[in-house]
């Protein structure tokens, strides 16, 4: 019988996805208690967390999940990450279908980012199709979730710095904004994540050069509403950004919304679900792998003009650029986790003050040290160069675990 380490104990629902992903990557069981135990209305695990647990179960082999009766305690013993193996979860063509429950109100980027973190360390290729009544491809501002376009254009290119670049694809088959039109259904999108590059160890990164923003790209998407909204959002964003960057180009993606069946007084009727529009902006800097991004979307109840949405996205992008650093707040979790899974070498990145002081990043540092990883070295970058005022150089030592399935004796 294999000798197992005692489970790492955590409390509360904070950073739950990050903790589950770390446990799976490092192969250590975790025990989380007190998950929303003081919440009278919705105690225990939330629907998006349960969806993530199901996803982890189908992507891994031999994982063991125990949830208490009330749902406030979770014991997770991770297995090996196998990916989409035909016959075990995936269908004959190697595509793993993950049905997202209709009660999940978060954007699908919540699940996609977790998959993208696990996929380079899997034994086989990863090919997951997110479908079902809960897939929302746009940004969800209530939860602070980014849109799937931002994941593809601002987070995935950073994987190139780690040596993971081939066969990465995120295909958006259907778009959807959050909707509350039909009960039991919060979205009607469909997203496929193909991750075909598995590595033994991610490369050690030294991303210390922030550079200057050289171009701004973006996607304006409109689902089920007129395409004029796209043009108006682009015009509003350009009104803010034109004088600041020379090369701006925003693409326009227009699509129809999905019709879903729902029961009304016994008869089945169809209703349009997932209407809305949004804007995703990415600023690429001259430093390698440096991306700042922002997202804005219309609310589910509507009432916001596209000009407002476009301007909001532009100002949020400027705020993200102002925070600075080589890694923005959206990608900080991903980059720091990948660095900690690298070889036993020191990797360095530069984080802005507000990015480093963000509670997610601080909690990630604490969780990593609970798992037994080495602490981070944080130094004021202004001591090296006067220009880096308000930036911090974070040095992360990898643990050398990497991809267990790819170890060669």
């Amino acid at each position: 019988m294999a000798i197992t380490q005692p489970p790492v104990k955590f409390t509360t629902h904070r950073s739950l996805s990050s903790r589950l992903v770390l446990a799976t990557l490092r192969g250590r069981p975790i025990h989380i208690s007190g998950i929303r135990s003081k919440n009278p209305a919705n105690p225990g695990l939330a629907p998006h967390e349960i969806s993530l647990l199901r996803l982890l179960e189908s992507l891994t082999n031999g994982s063991h999940i125990e949830i208490s009766y009330t749902g406030t305690t979770l014991l997770y013993k991770p297995g090996l990450i196998t990916g989409s193996v035909p016959g075990r979860g995936a269908d004959a063509s190697g595509v793993l279908r993950h049905e997202v429950d209709g009660r999940v109100g978060r954007g699908v980027s919540y699940l996609v980012l977790a998959v993208c973190l696990l996929a380079p360390f899997s034994k086989g290729k990863v090919n997951v199709l997110f479908t079902g009544p809960g897939v929302i491809t746009s940004a969800v501002e209530k939860w602070g979730d980014i849109s799937i376009d931002t994941v593809r254009t601002a987070v995935l290119p950073i994987y190139t710095q780690f040596g993971i670049e081939r066969d990465l694809e995120i295909r958006v088959h259907k778009r959807s904004n959050p909707s509350n039109a039909v009960r039991g259904r919060s979205g009607a999108g469909e997203v496929q994540v193909v991750f075909g590059h598995q590595v033994r160890l991610p490369k050690t990164v030294h991303m210390l050069k922030t550079g200057r923003v050289k171009r701004i790209r973006g996607v304006a998407y409109a689902t089920g509403v007129s395409g004029g909204n796209n043009a108006r959002m682009i015009e509003a964003a350009r009104g803010v950004l034109n004088q600041l960057a020379p090369d701006i180009y925003i693409f326009s993606d227009m699509g129809s919304s999905q019709l879903v069946n729902y029961e009304k007084a016994g008869a089945t009727e169809k209703k349009k679900v997932g209407l809305g529009f949004g804007l995703s902006l990415v600023a690429e800097s001259s430093g390698p792998g440096v991306f700042y991004s922002s997202d804005a979307a219309s609310g589910a109840e509507g009432g916001e003009t596209p000009e407002d949405v476009g301007r909001r996205a532009a100002f949020m992008l400027l705020e993200s650029v102002e925070r600075g650093g080589t890694v923005s707040a959206e990608a900080a979790n991903t980059v720091l986790t990948l660095m900690s899974m690298g070889s036993e070498d020191v990797g360095r990145i530069q984080l802005g003050k507000d990015v480093l002081a963000n509670e997610n990043v601080v909690q990630l540092a604490r969780d990593l040290s609970s798992f037994g990883a080495a602490g981070w070295g944080i130094r004021d970058a202004a001591t090296v160069d006067e220009k880096n005022e308000g930036q911090f150089t974070v040095s992360v030592v990898g643990s050398g675990i990497g991809n267990v399935g790819r170890k060669i004796g």
């Binding site: 254009t153 694809e169 995120i170 790209r217 043009a231 925003i250 693409f251 326009s252 060669i408 004796g409």
Partner: protein
């Protein structure tokens, strides 16, 4: 009546409108829209530039008074550009990103909007010298044609010699085409027969083997020296072992068996090995 539901209507007087004026009299209003308009104007100030003057109510009293005037029309026609016609502001949201050539847009779209994460698209990387300098295009084409013909003649000359000996011309044409395809870069040949009945294939290979054996035997008997015999099996020796298997030893039934040599290769040479080795 506006709307489908009956609403309580207030009876108001018809007067010249000013902001903040209260309705006090009980004379019936002409229109229910008037009531709404007055209510609206009571809450909101009018726009600063009133381009189109609303003379409907202003002229209420004027109309009444003008009826008493003489029947002779004083209409003398429209004055020429007397009043400033309201300037119509056109807001067109349908204008896309214009002014960008198709090629650039397509290149950007290919990198950014495909399902892959976007890579660096740099127009400067693409070859700027796309077209040669302006020569006589006709002579250029003619030169190319001559070059091609000469090359083909040189390559297929031995085929043409054979065709002189009255073999079927179609066969030589096929061979010439096959040569050209191989020169361009075909991996497999068009002329090889991929599928055939098993008995045919066995017969063909057996015949080829017997011919080769006969050639070697006859050459040996006659003292002719031939090239060394090479078998096809020796070419495809290396086989794939799998990515995640251990690099040393045999793995079977859950056990990794390491031989003495494997252990030595892992451990490396023993500590005092170099003393007896070659030292200069």
């Amino acid at each position: 009546m506006l709307g489908k539901r009956k609403r309580e209507t207030q009876v108001v007087t018809k007067r010249k409108q000013e902001i903040g004026e209260q309705e006090s009299n009980a004379t019936p209003a002409r229109d229910s829209s008037d009531i709404f308009r007055r209510h609206f104007e009571a809450s909101f100030a009018p726009l600063p530039a009133q381009m189109v003057s609303d003379g409907v109510d202003d002229s209420e009293e004027d109309v009444e008074s003008s009826e008493q005037e003489s029947e002779v029309s004083e209409w003398s026609g429209l004055s020429e550009s007397d009043t400033d016609l309201p300037v119509v502001e056109v807001v067109d949201h349908a204008i896309g990103e214009s002014g960008i050539d198709d090629e650039l847009h397509r290149a950007r779209q290919k990198t950014f909007m495909s399902s892959r994460p976007p890579r660096e698209v740099d127009l400067s990387n693409r070859s700027t010298e796309t077209k040669p300098p302006d020569e006589d295009d006709a002579t250029e084409k003619l030169n190319l044609k001559h070059d091609l013909d000469l090359q083909r003649l040189l390559k297929e000359s031995h085929l043409l010699e054979k065709s002189k000996a009255s073999r079927n011309a179609s066969r030589e044409r096929q061979m010439a085409l096959e040569m050209r395809l191989q020169a361009v870069g075909a991996k497999t040949s068009v002329l090889t027969q991929e599928n055939m009945p098993r008995s045919h294939r066995i017969g063909i290979t057996k015949k080829a083997e017997s011919k080769e054996a006969r050639r070697r035997r006859e050459a040996k008997e006659n003292g002719v020296i031939l090239e060394k015999a090479s078998s096809k099996a020796s070419k495809n020796v290396r086989r794939q072992r799998g990515v995640d298997v251990p690099g040393v030893g045999k793995y079977s039934g859950g056990t990794l068996k390491l031989s003495r040599r494997d252990v030595a290769s892992i451990q490396g040479p023993p500590a005092g090995a170099s003393r007896k080795g070659k030292r200069r």
